[in-house]
């Protein structure tokens, strides 16, 4: 078997794999421009009306606002917690460091449905009604591993003597954090905010269980899929979300890389 032959089969496999993964995703924007309510080929012609109609649907807009609130608050909370946790993990050697780090990362591998149902049981048993607040709590839990790992990479190459130098020059502990630590890890903070926002904005299972009467956007979209007439609207909305998610993650990646470079 020649190398070129083997290579080409591998290439075919790789392309088939990628098509299988992403074709359905690409169908979403395609049909969102299709002038017809039935999602099927052949296409009926180009239209922007499904996008135009989005602006007139109050429940959709309310869900959008809910998602923005939940995403923003989640991003702020998860990033603040992640910032302090990451600094502690990178800077200090304390008992239970590895255990605590493992526990923080655990939500990445626990099935969402387990987390969602146990949180619902917990919140109800302590008298918290499902609301945006409970969604935020759930989202902070699942977003934390992302912010901790982004902030850890921001702190990894951060020369500790920078903080010592500031302290040595008469600055207080808080002042050192504000004048030296924060500005230097700022790109990491921006990256973490964007990623955690995206994690929360796209999250469905926890939001479905914990949102009660105020659905977030994914929960709203799920509820709309039952109405065939609304499907094209949903496709348009989904396309917009897809686009904004990709954009946010690209920006986040830009900042994450900048934070690694600037600390060299």
């Amino acid at each position: 078997m020649t190398k070129a032959f083997r290579f080409s089969w591998l290439l075919v496999y790789a392309i088939a794999y990628l098509v299988f993964l992403y074709l359905p995703v690409l169908l979403l924007p395609l049909f969102s421009f299709n002038d017809g309510t039935i999602v099927a080929f052949p296409l009926k012609g180009f239209t922007l009306k499904w996008y135009a109609q989005l602006g007139q649907q109050d429940t959709l807009l309310q869900a959008m606002v809910n998602s923005l609130i939940v995403g923003s608050v989640t991003a702020l909370m998860a990033t603040s917690l992640g910032l302090f946790a990451a600094r502690a993990y990178v800077r200090y050697r304390f008992t239970g460091r590895e255990l605590s780090e493992g526990l923080v990362m655990l939500p990445l591998v626990i099935p969402g449905i387990i987390v969602a149902s146990s949180m619902l049981v917990l919140f109800i048993s302590i008298g918290l009604k499902p609301s945006l607040a409970t969604v935020i709590l759930g989202h902070v839990f699942v977003a934390l591993p992302f912010s901790v790992s982004i902030m850890k990479s921001a702190f990894d190459d951060f020369d500790q003597s920078l903080e010592e130098a500031a302290f040595d020059l008469g600055e207080s502990v808080v002042g050192t954090f504000r004048r030296v630590t924060l500005p230097i890890v700022a790109p990491g903070i921006v990256a973490s905010l964007l990623v955690t926002f995206t994690v929360s904005f796209d999250e469905f299972v926890l939001a479905f269980f914990l949102s009660g009467n105020s659905p977030t956007l994914p929960v709203y979209i799920w509820s709309q899929i039952r109405f065939p007439a609304k499907l094209p609207n949903t496709l348009a909305l989904g396309s917009l979300l897809l686009l904004s998610s990709v954009l946010l993650l690209l920006i986040a990646e830009y900042f994450r890389r900048r934070s690694i470079q600037s600390s060299d």
Partner: protein, 371 residues
């Protein structure tokens, strides 16, 4: 240098678990002194410096700076400032803001801060570079900014952690002289940590040599060189030929000894050596030996040997001479006055030694591992 004590360290001990990083450190520094802590890596010199700075706590002992007991005083409240090994230049600030960083916490007005920053930059020959970004600086410039940033605070004591180790050789030598000049001009006490003996010798008024957490000897550079207290110190500073000797008689200020390979002679007692034994270790600096093809006159001891190696250093030539009855070759350094290498491998040569250049190094137990 005044007679005022600026730093007094008494019985300071620092342990990391069972590892003793600094053991029973006692040291008094005078105001305006340039002091170096010299030792191999891991000897505890940086830990000692960080204890003085307040970055590291210590288990026992006491530190007074400028008459004040430091105890629990944190680093940001101590009258010391530090130049870090990595320089720790704030990457998000320009040169002016780096240098003025510490002044922001003081009572100075913006105008005064600006003036002081300009003055400090002038002092380290970076005048006018206030707006330069941190990442646009060369290694030497970073070092100068770090120096200016610390000196602008007008500390009682400036602490320097291997300040020149990141610079290349020529720049390092230029900075050694410049920092020495600056220190003498300002009259501030400098405490520098270094593993480079030449750096320590060229810059310091006094040097403390540390091994394994212990301060072995504190002296002027020339005394450390001529009267090291034991083998460790002798071998860490300059080259040294070590020879076994036997004490045949002990006088008030001299020892009559029989040096293996060199014969009988009378040498001065080294005041820095604490215990003398019948079994003595002596040393001769390579540049204190005469090497000659003909038998030279006027030496207290003469010995014949064969050249085993020749190393050309530019400013000097080192000959290694094998002598019957000695395990190690004797190193001889000859200044390169006439651009000649007089002896080659295999030549038979005479070595001449004056008894005054044979250094008493005390007990032979301090030989370490290579007996």
């Amino acid at each position: 240098m005044s007679e005022q004590n600026i730093i007094e360290i008494q019985g300071v001990e620092k342990r990391f678990g069972s590892f003793v990083a600094v053991s029973d450190l006692n040291l008094t520094l005078k105001e305006g002194e340039f002091f170096s802590l010299l030792g191999p890596s891991g000897c505890g010199k940086t830990t000692a410096l960080r204890i003085i700075a307040g970055f590291q706590d210590h288990e026992e002992g006491e530190i007074r700076i400028d008459g004040r007991t430091m105890g629990e005083v944190p680093a940001n409240k101590r009258p010391t400032n530090m130049v870090f090994q990595s320089y720790a230049i704030f990457p998000h600030l320009n040169v002016g803001d780096n240098v003025g960083f510490g002044l922001r916490k003081t009572k100075f007005s913006r105008k005064e801060i600006k003036e002081r920053v300009a003055e400090a930059l002038e002092m380290v020959e970076l005048g006018g570079l206030q707006d330069r970004k941190a990442n646009e600086l060369s290694g030497g410039q970073r070092q100068r900014v770090a120096l200016a940033r610390a000196l602008v605070m007008r500390p009682k004591v400036l602490l320097l952690d291997e300040p020149l180790s990141a610079l290349d050789k020529n720049l390092r030598e230029a900075m050694q002289l410049e920092m020495r000049r600056l220190q003498q001009k300002l009259g501030i006490t400098f405490v520098m940590v270094t593993h480079d003996q030449y750096e320590a010798m060229t810059m310091s008024d006094r040097i403390g040599v540390m091994f394994a957490g212990q301060l072995k000897q504190v002296d002027k550079p020339e005394v450390l060189y001529s009267q090291p207290c034991n083998r460790e110190v002798a071998s860490f500073i300059g080259g040294m030929n070590f020879l076994d000797a036997e004490v045949t008689a002990e006088n008030a200020e001299t020892l009559e000894v029989n040096v293996k390979g060199l014969g009988k002679m009378e040498i001065g007692v080294n005041p820095n050596v604490q215990v003398h034994d019948k079994e003595l270790l002596v040393g001769v600096r390579p540049e204190q030996l005469e090497i000659s093809a003909e038998k030279p006159d006027g030496y207290d001891a003469l010995v014949q040997g064969e050249v085993s190696d020749v190393a050309f250093y530019g400013e000097s030539v080192h000959y290694y001479v094998r002598v019957d009855g000695l395990k190690d070759s004797i190193a001889v350094a000859v200044p390169n006055y006439f651009h000649t290498v007089d002896h080659t491998r295999g030549d038979t040569v005479w070595l001449g030694v004056q008894s005054a250049s044979v250094i008493d190094l005390g007990k032979r137990e301090s030989l370490g591992g290579d007996k």
